[in-house]
């Protein structure tokens, strides 16, 4: 009791909690879950975009996309490292993902069907991710907060890059503009779902707010995203696929139509359109690479023995 109170006081003073500090088990568990889900999302998120690297329509875009996907892998690395400070190993976490036991953001279960999807993902998906992640740079847990600072810097670069792809398409031929509209049509609602259920339905909201793992509610962040994004769509000359979308003068923000939470739940439940492929691909990569990891481990062991022998001699 006293410990919990003292812990809460540290949080309230905006002190960073570090890995070796005492912390409530619930706090640790929540962070492990959240950070690892976040890491898994980065890794799985490499696939929908990776799908277009070999078909990118110009060398500049090809290089930028490869670099972007590489950054996502890098984010996965920092995040697994941040989770490891809480006493789990990357191997355990990856195993949970491969077993289908761990969650990752359901946005990555949607397929990329045209080049415009690469633009839409950068613009909308990275845009939504940034809304979620900027507050995490001030998360009470130090390693997570520091990882997020680095992540956010790169994400906002990706977001601008994605928007720039959309802009190029919208300034292009009618065929290209139609491609962009089609991508917006498919990615708009899933992007809004990235913020999670309405606050009234959210499970972990309050405690996470108190622990300053979370600093804004799902609905507040979603609103912020909509308000930032709708003018961008207008600038592109694209139509947001929501007939109920309307400016609300009173609240100084947009009202949106009802979100299809049945679709959201069905994606969570069934793994979504590409969810099975995503996990299957990762499992294959793990299996195909097993002999390489074993070789590296065997070599490292031999080297250690040799050095020990040399030192003993």
């Amino acid at each position: 009791e006293a410990f919990l109170e003292a812990f809460q006081e540290r949080i309230d003073r905006e002190e960073k909690i570090e890995p070796n500090d005492p912390m409530p088990e619930g706090y640790r568990r929540t962070l492990v879950r959240q950070i690892s889900q976040h890491a898994h999302s980065e890794i799985i998120g490499m696939q929908p975009e990776g799908n277009w690297i070999t078909r990118a329509p110009s060398l500049k875009r090809k290089a930028a996309l490869l670099a972007k996907v590489q950054d996502e892998g890098g984010h996965g690395l920092y995040l697994y490292a941040a989770a490891e400070t809480l006493g789990v190993t990357r191997e355990e976490l990856v195993e949970q993902l491969l077993q289908g036991k761990a969650k990752y953001s359901s946005i990555f279960t949607y397929p990329t069907l045209s080049w415009a999807d690469i633009g839409a993902i950068g613009w909308l998906v990275d845009g939504a991710a940034i809304m979620n992640q900027v507050p995490l740079c001030r998360c009470s847990f130090g390693p997570y907060a520091r990882a997020m600072i680095r992540v956010c810097k790169e994400e906002s670069f990706h977001q601008r890059q994605g928007y720039e792809i959309m802009l190029t398409l919208c300034n292009g031929t009618p065929e290209q503009k139609a491609m962009a509209q089609d991508a917006l049509d498919r990615w708009w609602w899933p992007s809004l779902m990235m913020f999670g259920p309405h606050d009234s339905e959210s499970q972990h909201g309050d405690q996470n707010m108190a622990w300053k793992i979370k600093r804004f509610t799902n609905d507040a962040l979603r609103q912020k995203f909509v308000d930032a994004t709708v003018p961008q769509a207008e600038f592109l000359g694209l139509k947001v696929p929501d007939p109920d979308l309307a400016w609300n003068e009173e609240k100084g923000g947009y009202d949106i139509g009802p979100i299809d939470w049945d679709e959201f739940r069905s994606v969570l439940k069934s793994g979504g359109f590409c969810g099975r492929d995503r996990i299957r691909n990762r499992r294959r990569a793990e299996e195909d690479g097993a002999w390489v990891r074993e070789a590296a481990a065997a070599f490292a062991e031999k080297q250690a023995t040799r050095q020990a022998d040399a030192a003993a001699a």
């Binding site: 890794i43 490499m46 696939q47 990776g50 690297i53 070999t54 078909r55 990118a56 329509p57 110009s58 060398l59 500049k60 875009r61 090809k62 290089a63 490869l66 670099a67 996907v69 590489q70 892998g73 890098g74 996965g76 690395l77 697994y80 080049w115 792809i165 190029t168 398409l169 300034n171 292009g172 031929t173 065929e175 290209q176 691909n281 990762r282 294959r284 990569a285 195909d288 690479g289 097993a290 002999w291 390489v292 990891r293 074993e294 070789a295 590296a296 065997a298 070599f299 031999k302």
Partner: protein, 254 residues
């Protein structure tokens, strides 16, 4: 298409670009499939270096030609028979051992190649070389380290690496070939004498293979043809995928 003002220089820059692009593309095919997350990043790094080099070289080739072709016109709108990359770089990724052996063969050549190229009479090529040499050194170090680990790792990794060496060795003769184009540019102080790089390549190979506990493949008849567009059947499939968008939507800006 008119004959470029300096056809030899154009051809030379294009073939050098083709080498780097095709290998960079092959590395990019690993995305999401690498044996570790760290290696995922390393493969992307090398791929990015190579694609970057290709871009500079194509752009320069387009300037030399003076017909308004940019890097994308050269990369996406030439046919399999017009691509002049060496056969080594178009070989499929196969397993990780094949990919790393291919990289080692290439980087052990490109390292001294770019070093020599920094002294080229052509300021653009020597400038590109100045940046590329650092990248090639990293590729060489990275692939050599893997070959040592794999050769001296497990029985399986040793066997796979030996198979990869044996399979790809036949493509290494082409690294050191000099045709008329290359010779004429060598005379002008522009090109590198690839033949002269063989001893250094051999040294790197012997040293790495010795550390890895792998035998150097015996001398066999080498295959070549890439420089004149006589490719293996692998390149056409790579190009069909890589060029699809530019072919399907011609003349658009992306």
């Amino acid at each position: 298409m008119a004959i470029p003002k300096d056809k030899a220089l154009f051809d030379y820059a294009v073939r050098l670009a083709d080498d780097q692009l095709v290998l960079g593309h092959r590395l990019s095919e690993w995305c999401g499939r690498a044996p570790t997350l760290e290696e995922e990043l390393a493969l992307a790094n090398m791929g990015l270096d190579l694609i970057g080099q290709a871009r500079s070289l194509y752009t320069y080739a387009g300037e030399v030609e003076g017909e308004g072709r940019d890097e994308d016109a050269l990369a996406y709108l030439r046919s399999e028979r017009e691509f002049a990359n060496m056969l080594l770089v178009e070989q499929p990724n196969d397993d990780f051992a094949h990919t790393m052996v291919r990289q080692l063969f290439h980087a052990a050549f490109m390292t001294p190649y770019w070093e020599a190229m920094t002294g080229s009479a052509d300021a653009t090529l020597s400038g590109i070389a100045g940046k590329a040499v650092k990248e090639a050194r990293y590729h060489l170090r990275h692939s050599a380290e893997w070959i040592v680990r794999l050769g001296d790792g497990t029985e399986e990794s040793h066997a796979r690496t030996r198979a990869a060496l044996d399979h790809l060795w036949v493509f290494t003769g082409e690294l050191f070939e000099m045709d008329e184009t290359a010779l004429s540019l060598l005379d002008r102080g522009v090109a590198v004498d690839a033949r002269a790089l063989k001893p250094e390549w051999d040294r790197a190979m012997n040293e790495t293979l010795a550390r890895a506990g792998l035998d150097r493949p015996g001398e066999i008849a080498m295959l070549s043809g890439g420089r004149t567009g006589r490719h293996s059947e692998h390149l056409g499939h790579l190009l069909a995928e890589m060029q699809y968008m530019q072919r399907a939507y011609p003349g658009m800006t992306w």
